[in-house]
């Protein structure tokens, strides 16, 4: 069961944390920003739509980098500061608290997308004009939501383990690769593609590209098809995360490991 009030409060609290000390956003956005800039250098001889393709992919990486980094650390810090137990005894479901935080973190990842857009426009002279602005905004919102939900799934595990930093590092790059944000999915080996298809980030990135690039639709899904798959996979991950939270919260309470750091 989700509580909208708890979600809003968690989002607000996370936003206040950010504005009090904005420097902490740097560690979470620096990796996707550098990865995208390197990609732009590698694509520089290709020009045209391929450069815009990399810029759009970079935006997705930025949102994901910030979501996974901040979401994992938000629970990690609660554990470290000894406030995780206090959060668990409030009537608000932990999943709602984490989802509110993830939403803010994914939203903040847009800062990285903005930085990438600026570098692309001014340093590489790429024309960052999207074909369907309204479709692009809808796809962006859907991708942001999908990444927040994905962050929530992984966030659930941080409730039972204090090794959150190690898990975060393991989870950031696989999504960069498997989402195919920076290259078409056909470049990936066949055995890894089912993992890509299961990720909402893959379809969100696909919807963004279809809305932005003229004639782009390698999988023949169409804009609505990609957006529908983003919504479907997001819903599946949301249900999985709610179940995981309920199961792992119960386990952490039985093990008594919430204040163990």
């Amino acid at each position: 069961m989700m509580s909208v009030r708890a979600m809003k409060a968690a989002l607000k609290q996370q936003a206040i944390h950010f504005f009090v000390d904005p420097q902490w956003v740097i560690p979470s956005i620096i990796a996707p920003f550098i990865f995208t800039t390197v990609t732009l250098f590698l694509f520089r001889h290709t020009g045209g739509d391929l450069m815009l393709y990399a810029v759009l992919g970079g935006g997705v990486l930025g949102m994901w980098g910030n979501t996974i980094h901040s979401s994992s650390w938000s629970i990690g810090y609660d554990r470290m500061n000894g406030t995780l137990e206090a959060i668990m005894v409030t009537p608000a479901p932990l999943s709602s608290v984490v989802f509110g935080r993830c939403l803010w973190n994914a939203f903040l990842g847009l800062l990285n997308a903005l930085a990438v857009f600026l570098v692309a426009q001014f340093a590489f002279g790429i024309d960052v004009t999207v074909r369907d602005p309204l479709g692009f905004l809808v796809a962006l919102a859907a991708t942001l939501l999908s990444l927040a939900v994905l962050g929530m799934v992984f966030g659930a595990f941080y409730v039972v383990t204090r090794a959150s930093s190690a898990l975060f590092q393991m989870l950031e790059y696989p999504i960069y690769v498997l989402s195919g944000a920076m290259f078409p999915l056909v470049v990936l080996p066949e055995w890894s593609r089912p993992f890509s298809y299961a990720l909402p980030a893959t379809w969100g990135a696909e919807a963004l590209k279809i809305a932005s690039l003229s004639g782009y639709d390698p999988l023949g899904l169409g804009y609505m098809g990609a957006l529908g798959l983003t919504a479907l996979t997001t819903l599946v991950f949301l249900l999985v995360s709610l179940w995981l939270f309920s199961f792992l919260e119960g386990r952490a309470k039985v093990n008594g490991t919430l204040v163990r750091y």
Binding site: P27, I30, V38, F41, L42, F43, A163, P174, V177, P184
Partner: protein, 264 residues
């Protein structure tokens, strides 16, 4: 003198033991390998798609394998002072008779071992999975290049990490330095691709010389062929250690005056 050596040794041993206190050895190993592997894979796929002959998949894989040294040798060392502050043990370290510089030198020594392990595994992975041809490389020359690169990079990490004694945290600076090498050091594409005004910055990073030396050794160069690169890295490394010593002294004094030693 003897006290400093004991301090370095004790600090290295404590760093090793505390490494596995939170993250177990198996999870740690998976973390090290998966990070190196997925970073390499990402850039290999990008370069494959980009189709630039001067920065093909093998070029990119080799560069990323060498840059995996950065995680331990630069980021790990940079984070050391900040982590002590975060945990609240910085004041206790200052209370010991060993100078702070030697405590962090010990941590750097331990990170060197981790770094050399990571880069060795990454090179094997790059050869096994991404077609990097290391058959022409002389193992002894390659090992020498990696040890010298690691020496210079740990010194670089200590310079950056010294600010963690004074500032609230060295995490922000450490994160920037960790990834900047991917852009500036010839890891993923030749330095000539960078704008002219940015190219001199590449030569301030020891990783630039390390990557270049490994590329040459992989193509069959001997120790004499890369000796100039090794000399540059040794000189840079020595300068970094001296600078780090001075900076630790300065920042320690500043932190004491400002009362920011335990501030996080």
């Amino acid at each position: 003198m003897m006290r400093n050596v004991t301090g370095v040794k004790a600090s290295a041993l404590v760093a090793m033991r505390s490494q596995f206190a939170v993250v177990g050895p198996v999870l740690w190993l998976i973390q090290i390998l998966s990070t190196a592997l997925f970073q390499m894979w990402f850039f290999v796929l990008v370069s494959d798609f980009a189709g630039d002959p001067a920065a093909g998949p093998a070029y990119v894989a080799l560069g990323n394998a060498v840059s995996s040294l950065t995680y331990a040798a630069v980021y790990g060392v940079t984070m050391a002072a900040g982590s002590e502050k975060h945990i609240g043990t910085m004041a206790s370290i200052l209370g010991t008779p060993t100078r702070m510089y030697y405590v962090f030198l010990g941590k750097g020594a331990y990170q060197s071992v981790i770094g050399l392990f990571t880069v060795t595994v990454s090179l094997l992975l790059s050869s096994w999975l991404f077609g990097v041809d290391l058959s022409g490389a002389d193992p002894l020359t390659l090992a020498t290049v990696l040890v010298v690169t690691c020496f210079a990079m740990v010194g670089f990490g200590m310079v950056i990490g010294s600010v963690g004694v004074y500032l609230r945290s060295s995490m922000v600076l450490g994160s920037i330095v960790l990834y900047l090498g991917l852009l500036l050091c010839g890891v993923n594409f030749p330095i000539a691709y960078l704008p002219g005004w940015l190219q001199p910055a590449s030569y301030a990073f020891p990783l630039t010389y390390g990557v270049e030396a490994v590329r040459r050794v992989a193509m069959g160069a001997g120790l004499a062929d890369v000796s100039h690169l090794l000399i540059v890295m040794l000189a840079m490394g020595a300068a970094f250690y001296v600078l780090a010593y001075l900076l630790f002294e300065v920042f320690e004094r500043l932190a004491l005056r400002r009362g920011s030693l335990d501030m996080f």
